[in-house]
């Protein structure tokens, strides 16, 4: 971070004073970043959508009209009610409120994204960073050729194949998506770190005898944080799409739990008989989530000028 000259000249021997100046600089930087971010109305809309979805997902029990409709529940009197009145988005074939189920569906979608990214980012980043730093050696070749193999097949197909040989449930669909997602981080970080390894601060650290872990995690990694962070915020949307595709095919969230993809799949059975609301609202909910995270991610990309993501 850029140091800003503060007048009158501070006493640089005073540790407390130094810490205070650092805090102040950090606050000013954050303020400047927020100003830049907030100039783009689309990014702000994205941020608000994401916050709203996260809050809805956390407090689903308290904000939905029928929280018990996400557990085994049947009310055939009110089954297949069209949207409007007591049931804002209608009810499904068991008489369960679709709005409530969508809000709880957000929870599973976000859970999937969080778990997958927490598993995938450290692995992909470490592998890509090591391969990039040791570019041209056998380590680079081994790691990146394996990455190439994973990237040679469309991600959905590999995830489907893995999920299909395991027992179909939420946990296994997370495992399946994680197994095919890390190479994307490895490739991104490989490019970044192989460029950084020739920088002066890296060669200086090598000259004074810093150990490899120090160079990797203290010198190179901090300089890659913004592109990684940007990619993560964009990936939330894509992970949610893949998750909903798996659950659409019956390989993810299982009934009676409300996965957005599961709801679309079950609802589409009732399209020919005229109950159009059962499939379309969960489908639109997927679009809303992905749109929110993409607007936010695009805003962050502009903010950090991370074009390589």
């Amino acid at each position: 971070m850029a140091e800003i000259a503060v007048s009158p000249a501070p006493d640089l021997t005073d540790v407390d004073e130094l810490a205070r100046i650092q805090r102040q600089n950090r606050r000013e930087n954050l303020g400047r970043m927020w100003f830049k971010f907030s100039r783009n109305p689309l990014s702000v809309i994205g941020l608000l959508m994401v916050i709203a979805i996260i809050l809805l997902a956390i407090f689903a029990e308290f904000v939905t009209p029928f929280p018990d409709h996400v557990r085994p529940f049947t009310d055939f009197v009110n089954a297949k009610k069209p949207p409007g009145g007591e049931y804002l988005l209608g009810t499904d074939q068991f008489g369960r409120d679709i709005l409530s189920r969508i809000v709880f569906g957000f929870r599973f979608s976000l859970l999937m994204a969080v778990v997958v990214l927490t598993l995938v980012v450290p692995v992909g980043v470490t592998l890509g960073m090591v391969a990039g730093y040791f570019q041209g050696t056998i380590i680079d070749t081994i790691i990146m050729r394996i990455t190439d193999i994973f990237l040679s097949v469309p991600p959905l197909i590999l995830a489907l194949a893995i999920a299909s040989v395991l027992t179909p449930n939420l946990t296994n669909s997370m495992i399946a998506v994680s197994l095919m997602w890390w190479p994307w981080y490895a490739r991104l970080v490989y490019g970044l770190s192989s460029a950084l390894r020739t920088e002066y601060f890296v060669s200086s650290a090598e000259t004074i005898g810093a150990r490899t872990p120090h160079i990797l995690f203290r010198e190179i990694l901090p300089n890659m944080i913004s592109p990684i962070f940007t990619k993560m915020s964009l990936d939330v949307g894509w992970v949610i799409i893949i998750g909903s595709m798996l659950s659409f095919l019956g390989l993810g969230v299982q009934e009676p739990q409300p996965g957005l993809g599961t709801m679309v799949a079950k609802g589409s059975d009732y399209l020919p008989t005229g109950q159009w609301w059962m499939a379309i609202f969960p489908a639109l909910a997927i679009v809303v989530v992905v749109l929110g995270f993409n607007l936010l991610g695009d805003g962050l990309r502009d903010l950090f000028s991370a074009e390589e993501v």
């Binding site: 040679s152 893995i162 299909s164 095919l249 679309v264 589409s268 992905v290």
Partner: protein, 354 residues
Amino acid sequence: MNFLNVEELQRLFLFLLRRIFQSIFVLFGLSILIFLLSRVLPGDPARMALGARAPQETIQRLRDEMHLDEPLLQQYQIWFTNALGGDLGDSLRTRRPVVDDIVEFLPASMELVLLAGVISAIGGITLGTLSARHKDSWIDNLVRVISYMGVVTPAFVVAIIFLTFFTTAEFGLDLFPPIGRLSSGFEPPPRVTGLYTVDSLLAGQFDTFVNALHHLILPSLALALGSLSQEARITRSTMSDNLTRDYIAAERALGIPERTVTGKFLLKPSLIPTVSIFGLDFAANLSNAFLVEVIFNWPGISRYATTAMLYKDLNAIAAVILILGVTFIVVNILVDLVVGILDPRIRLRGARSD
């Protein structure tokens, strides 16, 4: 297009050779990955295929047939040699050679993906050009909003939206048939390519052609929307970058008509990134077709694979992934080649170092 001389052709050939060599390595790795997937993961493949209540002798027979009691390395060797000879085993569900199943179902998917490719290329380039030429006007803004929505909406959601609005009577827009490749009462045309639209034209059955096309439009449009949007966005951005270049201003100053400037001198260099994206999207659409085919009940390879996955038919799963992987890699090589021909800079650099 610039004339390719002998030296450049040689370079191109070397470049191609290099890419093919790399791809063979990747394919070999992919085959190991797929094999491990279908063998090492928990559970007995034979029991999974036959169900929990199958008698022990039947399971043992299938295990022998699949060489499951051999050491792993030997199993891979058998599987790999067979795969090289075009034998990917029998489907554990249909009990037919998987290759036969794939040959039967692949054309339906190809028909879908090809039409989607055509739609997305024409639509994407048109919209992108329109957007760039009328930059910051309402046309530009409209195209940008539509293409952004198109990028974030997955194909299966588009399919559901289309199915809801254009096939059910609820909204008075039931213009298209909801499922399948042909209406009942129509016989599939005699098989030449397996693409119903092409075969029916070849056989001179015009009614069948119209009916097949009518069934084809909605699913391929659903599939095309994402890549169309992506191509429109990339065409717009490269073209509006190139519009500010000096050579365009020079051409205009020379009095060359605007139509010639945009249509000829601007379009070609602006299409290079679009071609790359088109190739990637085309290959990716083979996997996006998975859910679209399920939704439109389209008897293609993706629906075949989905059924195989639900029945844990490991031979079929492995074969489909391998076929799709090969297609993906081949399309990527073709794209590199086309881009290389279009862009002399990449052609020259590619042969030297990459």
